[in-house]
């Protein structure tokens, strides 16, 4: 068992967050109920009010996170003066059919960055390959030789490939701990597309040394290197808005998380003692290996008494994101299955109550589009269920009683819901303008324009993403396992034909919904157009957003001033992909480099 977690301080933010969200949700529920009551209450009014209740709670929950994040500042923990490191850390790089040249160029850049700190001897790199493609695996071994050569990495850099991918990424990491974890105080867990500054890595190890009860320390990775319109909009949002939302989230999570599976350091002993993941009973998608293992590992560490914390003051932590909607949807399909699978774990014995809530929150994040969809569908069919208006409800009373006009309540409710959707991002933009943070995003004007454009962009893509998410949830619920597809990290440009293949069912659904509304509830057509039109033109939106962005909008600090480790990686990758590389590919791995031929 681990140590008892020391501080939390999350009670007030949690209570405030839950109370405000519940207040907003119940207010929306009551307003909608009154709106429905005006012409006589029927079953469909209650169903729609329930959908509004849940959906508004979810929206308000996100908004509260942003407000909490705005009310605080990133603060480093109080630490004793730094007198050098005494620990050993393994930097774990799990790979799965990735391009080895790009992945290893990141490792070489991080190694150079660590050497610049003077503490490189405290860190080893372990490339943990789960690659199934033999050609890619061969390239991994060949290029590992060059990596070790160029970084003088013999004895510090290691490679191994599993022939059995048991447990997927979590099993890959677990395998490392079962073989060599005892040799390291800490393990920095990365993704294949992770990149971190040496100073950040050293600081993380320092914090782990200084706080013996700290089991896991998570950084907030910034999305970088996006080129496509979709990728750049996501990257801007992740850089501009996410730090604020994440700070709010961290305030509520306190000592119980979050862990996002990468760009985080763990205490080896704590992780090994607490995070051995069993297979869940039953078949996939709900049984079998745990897909979204990170949330579970955070919960298990917290259950054992270890602190699991996000330090959002740590800069120099990067990752890359999907460049188009289809790649985003593929990743989301995996996350959807993983989060819904948590329904089998939420009742696990001994978990901290907030970790249970986090599981429920994850599940809700995936099923919430179904509530909106349910609200839309029930609204279309509501006129069928509405009773005829009774102008003479009082027996014997000769004068008609007209239904009360609830228009302003309906308008108020709509403004409230749109406010919850858009206001948090606008507040973040206003805060950035006032605090000067916007300067790093191309100036106040550019940051505000980018925020508005991102709102338009996300409004247009939201119905398409909602449909993909709905399909994912239905697939999981009906027992379809999404498997473990390889991430597409390259150029993600899509033609209209490819986009049509992936979205024709969304087009068809949008057309059917619009036609049905036209016949059943023509008054709702204008309300439905912002949802139905993007669905009907989905192939064009998917294709257009996957193309390279040429606008000056969505500038991030890393566009204007790339981090030193990014510049290092650029130089290394350019050298490796240059004409000289052709001869290097055939070189065998040097002896003593840590690689064993198959």
């Amino acid at each position: 068992m681990g140590r008892t977690a020391g501080r939390s301080g999350a009670f007030i933010p949690r209570t405030l967050g839950l109370a405000l969200s519940a207040l907003a949700a119940s207010g929306a529920f009551m307003l909608f109920l009154q709106f429905g009551w005006s012409d006589g209450l029927d079953a469909m009014d209650i169903v729609r009010s329930a959908f509004i209740l849940i959906s508004t709670f979810w929206l308000a929950w996100g908004a509260v996170q942003a407000v909490l994040g705005l009310l605080s500042q990133p603060r480093p923990p109080k630490l004793p003066p730094f007198n050098g490191l005494n620990s050993k850390t393994a930097i774990l790089v799990p790979v799965y059919n990735e391009d080895p040249v790009t992945v290893y160029s990141r490792i070489a850049a991080m190694d150079a960055s660590l050497k610049a700190t003077g503490y490189a001897r405290h860190f080893h790199f372990a490339i943990l390959s789960d690659t199934r493609n033999d050609d890619v695996a061969e390239q991994e071994r060949i290029w590992f030789g060059r990596l070790v050569d160029e970084c003088d990495g013999a004895g510090r850099m290691f490679y191994r490939r599993r022939t059995n991918n048991k447990g997927r990424k979590a099993g890959n990491i677990e395998d490392f701990f079962q073989r060599a974890g005892g040799a390291y105080d800490f393990a920095l867990i990365l993704d294949a597309d992770s990149l971190m500054e040496g100073t950040t890595i050293v600081e993380m190890a320092r914090r782990m040394e200084a706080e013996p009860e700290l089991g896991l320390l998570q950084t907030l990775p910034k999305v970088t290197r996006a080129k496509a319109r979709f990728g750049r909009a996501m990257q801007f949002s992740a850089s501009f808005h996410s730090p604020i939302f994440a700070r709010g989230l961290a305030m509520m999570q306190g000592d119980t998380g979050p862990f996002w599976g990468h760009n985080a350091i763990v205490r080896s002993r704590a992780f090994a003692e607490s995070c051995g993941l069993p297979e869940l009973p039953g078949k996939p998608p709900f049984g079998g290996h745990i897909m979204s293992h990170d949330y579970v590992e955070a919960a298990l560490l917290a259950r054992a008494g270890w602190i699991v914390r996000l330090d959002d003051d740590l800069e120099g932590s990067f990752e890359e994101g999907p460049e188009n909607i289809i790649d985003h949807a593929k990743r989301d399909r995996r996350w959807c299955q993983g989060n819904l699978q948590h329904s089998k774990i939420v009742g696990a014995p001994g978990l901290r109550s907030w970790n249970r809530f986090v599981f429920i929150q994850g599940i809700l994040s995936y099923i919430s589009p179904l509530f909106w969809l349910g609200f839309i569908v029930s609204s279309i069919f509501a006129p069928w269920f509405a009773p005829p208006v009774n102008y003479f409800p009082v027996e014997g009373w000769p004068f008609p009683v007209f239904p009360s006009d609830e228009t302003w309540k309906a308008i108020g409710l709509a403004i409230g819901i749109f406010g919850l959707l858009f206001l948090p991002k606008l507040l973040v933009a206003a805060d950035a303008a006032l605090s000067g943070r916007a300067r790093a995003f191309g100036g106040t004007g550019n940051a505000l324009s980018s925020t508005l454009m991102e709102l338009v962009f996300s409004s247009i893509t939201a119905p398409i993403l909602m449909m993909f998410q709905t399909r994912s949830v239905l697939q999981v619920v009906f027992g379809a396992d999404g498997g473990w597809p390889t991430n597409n990290r390259g150029d993600g440009t899509l033609g209209v034909g490819e986009s049509w293949t992936a979205t024709w069912w969304i087009v068809l659904t949008g057309a059917v919904v619009l036609a049905t509304t036209w016949f059943l509830a023509p008054g709702l057509v204008p309300w439905l157009l912002p949802i139905a039109v993007p669905m009907i033109v989905a192939p064009f939106i998917v294709s257009w957003t996957s193309k390279s962005s040429r606008t000056n909008l969505f500038i991030t600090p890393m566009d204007l001033n790339p981090a030193p480790v990014m510049q290092r990686q650029d130089r290394i990758l350019a050298a490796w992909q240059g004409p000289v590389s052709a001869s290097v590919v055939t070189q065998p791995a040097p002896s003593g480099s840590g690689v064993t031929p198959a």
């Binding site: 939390s8 009670f11 079962q178 009742g347 840590g594």
Partner: protein, 51 residues
């Protein structure tokens, strides 16, 4: 809380010079008999301690 640890699978390639320093990773108990039998349900610390 734990069950016997399983041995890792055979590898193609290995960690070479990495020290042979295994750490046991006991399998954790994650499932309960039912959602409602949360005997070890833990209240938030602030509620337990009253501050």
């Amino acid at each position: 809380m734990s069950s016997p640890n399983t041995q890792p699978e055979a590898d193609e390639g290995n960690l070479g010079a990495l020290p042979n320093a295994p750490l046991a990773m006991p399998k954790q108990v994650l499932t309960s008999a039912s959602w409602f039998s949360l005997r070890k349900f833990t209240w938030p610390r602030a509620i337990k301690t009253g501050h």
